[in-house]
């Protein structure tokens, strides 16, 4: 490994990406800010959703806007059952001609925590149908391991509830997940600012997927850049290896030759 340059590349299901940052397309003040923020993030993987065509919307043109330039990753946001998630994934595959899916099966409107039982069911069915499944899941090592064992291409544990900006509520679980899973770990949800993103990478996570922390920032474009740098800094620190924590001081300046009066 090059000691001067951190490894910003990572591979999911055999496809290598030059950025560890996956970014969402929702809730930006306007389309231009969204485009500028995505540009500033350096992300290659951009998430989108699948919704009913409504008479008044007449199509957002998002596919035309982003389809050629980014790896669009559809999600199953808003699905509460395995059946809804599977059909949504199949519709997304048809609409985008991709078998990649960010699998979300939500258990509760208020917390937006995953419904683990339905999630595992949907993940297994989608893997069997040939999807590259990237599941949004709890920061639970057992669930992550089960998802890996059934053939998911990555696991995407939450750091905190979606859109909460609370940062990493349980870094110890992420460490355990890192030790137990060999597929890429992408922290999905809960990151609030650049230091949260850095911390996740320092813990050994492979990437970050976020949306609200950038789209909802006072200056989304600047925050996108900050997140990019945070992710890169975190990766550098992980590769460099932090020193052990000690309770007492260790002098950094040598004591030999100091004057004694």
């Amino acid at each position: 490994m090059d000691t001067k340059v951190a490894n910003n590349e990572f591979t999911i299901a055999g496809k290598t990406f030059s950025s560890r940052f996956l970014i969402g397309t929702s809730r930006y003040p306007n389309q231009q800010i969204m485009m500028d923020a995505i540009e500033a993030s350096g992300a290659e993987i951009v998430t989108v959703a699948v919704r009913r065509v409504s008479q008044d919307s007449g199509g957002e043109g998002l596919y035309d806007l982003l389809g050629d330039r980014f790896h669009l990753l559809p999600n199953t946001a808003g699905c509460f059952t395995a059946r809804d998630a599977v059909v949504t994934a199949e519709l997304a595959r048809e609409a985008l001609e991709t078998n990649w899916i960010k699998l979300e099966v939500i258990g509760d409107d208020e917390t937006l925590f995953p419904d683990v039982e339905q999630l595992l069911r949907a993940a297994e069915e989608l893997v069997n149908k040939g999807f590259i499944v990237l599941p949004y899941c709890n920061d639970d090592p057992i669930t992550c391991k089960k998802l890996e064992d059934m053939g998911c291409a990555a696991v995407m544990p939450l750091a905190a509830p979606i859109g909460s900006g609370m940062g990493i509520r349980n870094p110890y679980n992420l460490r355990i997940i890192r030790e137990q899973c060999s597929v890429p770990i992408i922290v999905d949800a809960g990151v609030g600012t650049a230091s949260d993103a850095a911390e996740a990478l320092e813990l050994g996570c492979d990437g970050i997927l976020l949306n609200t922390a950038v789209a909802g920032a006072r200056d989304p474009v600047k925050m996108a850049k900050a997140m990019k740098l945070g992710i890169e800094a975190g990766r550098y620190a992980f590769e460099a290896g932090r020193i052990p924590r000690r309770l007492y001081a260790t002098a950094s300046t040598p004591t030999d030759g100091a004057i004694e009066l």
């Binding site: 969402g24 929702s26 969204m34 959703a49 409504s54 008479q55 998002l62 035309d64």
Partner: protein, 69 residues
């Protein structure tokens, strides 16, 4: 002709003979990407839109790509 079908949860008179006509009637440009259709919970591949017809009480979902996280 009083056959009705459900389109995205709304009951409508069945007036088109194929899915592709139905899409056009609902203002969807069927030549563009980013659109998908399910008939009674099963995705209909784009290549079959021109040959697929509907019958009374069918449930059609027409979706497209929108912003998401």
């Amino acid at each position: 002709m009083t056959d009705r079908i459900s389109i995205n949860g709304e009951s409508k008179l069945l007036s088109s003979s194929t899915l592709i006509e139905l899409l056009e009637e609902n203002g969807v440009d069927s030549s563009k990407g980013g659109v998908a259709v399910a008939l009674n919970g099963e995705v209909v591949p784009r290549a079959d839109w021109a040959q697929t017809s509907m019958k009374c009480d069918d449930k059609v979902e027409i979706v497209h790509i929108v912003r998401g996280g």
